[in-house]
Amino acid sequence: MKSNSVKTIVAIGIGAALFFVLGRFVAIPSPVPNTNISVQYGLLGFMAISFGPIVGALIGFIGHALIDLSFGWGIWWSWVIASAVFGFMVGCFKPLFKINEGEFGTKGIGRFNIIQVSGHAVSWVIVAPLLDMLMYQEPVSKVFLQGLSGGLANAITTAIVGTLVCIGYAAAKPKKGSLKQE
């Protein structure tokens, strides 16, 4: 096994732990029941663009499943899967970013936000409500409202928290070619 894959596993583990802590203890209730203003999606967006789709998907899946379990209501699979889909979709665009080389400028911010907003749209307005209807037979209007409000809140927090974290992380990384031979 390559060293890369050990790092992937650890990134999933630590990422899911962070996702859990943020989602469980830093939750701000939103006006619509069952949805929280979730800071953890900012982290997930960041982890996904710096580690790729598999890490993104599994952090979303494991982290969200652990949050559900810890509240004691069982695992709400449709939303857990939607979190994984978000991590996966954002992670797929990893090659567009050079965040690990310390670059995250205006262009990066723009790209990141377009990607994360569309990722949230697909996960919460399409995937989550459809699975809710399929798996739990809940009323259409209710699941779409929940999805829409959850997705909107997640997109806003990702835009603020995720972007700030990406900028901060990139700034702390030494830039590629920042050393010059004299």
Binding site: I9, A17, F46, V165
Partner: protein
């Protein structure tokens, strides 16, 4: 600090089952409760699960916090469904027996009440089982169980790592939050919402940096110990199957089969007592 995966050491038959069995039964159980809306099955499931809860020697006050959360969740979900779709039951069961009318479209029908009864029963049948799983399975056994039911061990190990590091990260988050607040960062309700989000990011930054460093350190340590060299691995906390494990899994399987059979017999996911 609250202990999240609230493992409670007691001497009970449920504790003696292997973690893998409990995981399988929990998954089967929630699958069974998810697929069917047959009220007869949904009425039996809470009875069995409350019985199991009783023999596990977990007391209600051990889990009262979680139960409170879940009941609020259940209540809100029911209210929301009624507000958005007061005639969901009518469209499912295809008939309408009015009880009384509140306002405009908000008419209480027996069909709607019956649909809500099914929803509540679904919660009541899964909550005790999930609580049992959380309270009677040691976190370190959880990863071994995942591997045993067929999840690749690298993924099971990732779950184990995250359970291991949740308390650490929780503590670090707390420390950083206090340090930042001591430097004047407002996190209470007094700060406007967007300000609070931005301040939240100021706590997140050091936390994420620390965690990224941690990823380096842990993966180096794992590589030094040749993690991932072999196709399989053994687990320190893996238990042996006894006959009670087989009994438990059979019970879980029987329930899933029953709910699928009833779906077939009823010709859909709902059992309809209104056509007679």
């Amino acid at each position: 600090m609250i202990n999240i995966f609230n493992y409670i050491e007691r001497n009970s038959p449920i504790h003696k089952l292997t973690g893998a069995t409990k995981l399988i039964v929990m998954l089967l159980w929630s699958l069974g409760a998810m697929v069917t809306y047959d009220t007869r099955i949904l009425a039996i499931m809470p009875i069995i699960s409350f019985f199991l809860f009783a023999i596990s020697k977990i007391r209600l006050k051990d889990v009262s916090f979680m139960i409170g959360f879940t009941l609020i969740f259940m209540l809100l979900n029911n209210i929301l469904i009624f507000l958005f779709s007061p005639t969901h039951g009518v469209s499912i069961y295809g008939s309408s027996h009015e009880v009384f009318s509140i306002l405009g479209p908000y008419v209480i029908t027996w069909e709607q009440l019956f649909y809500h009864l099914n929803l509540v029963l679904k919660y009541l049948s899964t909550i005790p089982i999930v609580l049992l799983f959380i309270c009677t399975t040691h976190p370190s056994e959880f990863a071994a169980s995942l591997n045993k039911i067929g999840v690749p061990y690298s993924i099971a190990y990732a779950v184990s790592l995250s359970l291991r590091y949740i308390p650490d990260i929780q503590r670090e988050y707390h420390d950083i939050a206090q340090a930042q607040q001591a430097r004047g960062l407002e996190m209470s309700k007094k700060a406007p919402f967007f300000k609070r989000l931005k301040n939240g990011a100021a706590i997140l930054m050091p936390l994420i940096m620390l965690s990224i460093d941690k990823i380096e350190v842990i993966s180096n340590a794992m590589e030094l110990r040749s993690f991932g060299q072999n196709k399989k691995r053994t687990w320190y906390t893996e238990g042996r199957f006894t006959k009670w494990d087989i009994v438990a899994i059979t019970l879980g399987l029987a329930l899933v089969v029953a709910s699928f059979v009833m779906n077939y017999v009823n010709g859909g996911r709902f059992w309809n007592p209104f056509i007679r």
